[in-house]
Point group: D2
Chain length 142, copies 4
């Protein structure tokens, strides 16, 4: 299924609404898969050269958000309802890849599976499950 | 039960090992409760004036880490194994308070309940449960 | 805040709609706290005398469901959206007590903190966070 | 990678140690995949013909346990440390299939992704992530 917005439309939407989500590069933007690349930078590191947990959590959250947008179109009010993340391996000092796939695309709730990888490695460094809530038109917040 | 390190010892430990965890102020450092205050700053915000999800997740992670230190002493190798967070309410544009309490303090796993509040409000903006794994002396990583 | 239904109304509602949820005894039924007691029985056991994980998960789920009912009244269509449980200690061969408290009571989502205890002990054997989704009148399922 | 025990050895191990885990049929028992089939029976139902949440949680837990056994051999003391489950769709009144795959096989922690399906359907009815803790030889419990 095609994304409801293109990479260019996503970039424009983020510039207007969520400039802080502009960080990672969008490699795939599809209703079934979003793949992001977070460039390796010193500021994401914690001592020992590991990429910090909050950086990984933020990346997983952004990937899930883009998957919501790919399925529902630009809905600025979609909010993270819950996130569960398991840290599996120490990330390498390289780019981090995030792949988000839908577990359920409902009208009000979107549940997403996100895998994070060090670029070029098969075993994931973290797995996250996120739920986004999408407010209805004219309805009260969930 | 008293903390295994003082606020001053914590500050020194962080300066040496985790300078990036120095952000929030430590209001309480005890084996049963860690309370942190994250000063309200523009850079934590996302559009609409809300404090960003990754900022809240990072604060919860730091509070749980300090609780591990309060119970086990300075163990630089303690790592977050998993984190589940539920976002409950939109944070106000004010300081955020994190309160971490132990659910279980084991030799190898510490499970922590963390509540996040907008300063001065009773209802929490988020609840998180974190598991930290503590590598044994001379043992392989978990 | 008072419960929107009495213990007797709850029993009648369950007899009609959810006979399988009749197991545990209701000790407290309030909008802020539901306390249930699961009588110790051989059939809940697994080898070693421990109460099984699924028994504990079912009890946590029932306690959260009753808290939804106490807050929203009898809504037969409320469904568990997600559950996270941490098993903290081996339960003793005694009654299990569940205490459910609301983290958030929204119109569409209710998030609940549940602690499970062996009767008479202070340290909890498990902690769970549950989200219930409540379908709106005439709306599509979440 | 081959399983460290055969289906017959698993059956014998369960008969001796966990007779209550004998319910579902083992369709695949491999270090990379465990597939179980839970036969549709009236007693798993809740009103409306849906298979109950605790039944699904118990099945996910069993599948993850078998994956631990396939990777580590018969370790009777492996215990569920945490479980997060998202209920995605109403199960059909049919057999339920559980597929467990490893996210991480550590010496002390095994993290598993479990998908549950109604037999013959592509979209999963639930997704669970489970952590099993494996006590070390001669060590204290985690």
């Amino acid at each position: 299924m095609a994304s409801k917005l293109s990479v260019e439309e996503l970039a424009r939407f983020l510039d207007e609404q969520f400039p802080q989500a502009r960080g990672p590069e969008v490699e795939v933007l599809d209703a079934e898969l979003v793949r992001l690349r977070l460039r390796y930078e010193e500021r994401h590191l914690r001592p020992g050269g590991t990429i910090s947990g909050p950086t990984l959590m933020g990346l997983a959250d952004t990937a899930a958000f883009f998957l919501v947008l790919a399925n529902h179109g630009p809905v600025a009010l979609a909010v993270t309802s819950s996130l569960t993340i398991h840290f599996l391996r120490k990330p390498a000092p390289r780019d981090v890849i995030a792949e988000a796939r839908p577990l359920k695309v409902g009208r009000r709730l979107v549940v997403t599976d996100v895998r994070l990888f060090s670029d070029g490695e098969a075993a994931s460094v973290a797995q996250a499950t996120l739920t986004y809530a999408i407010p209805g038109l004219g309805s009260a917040p969930p």
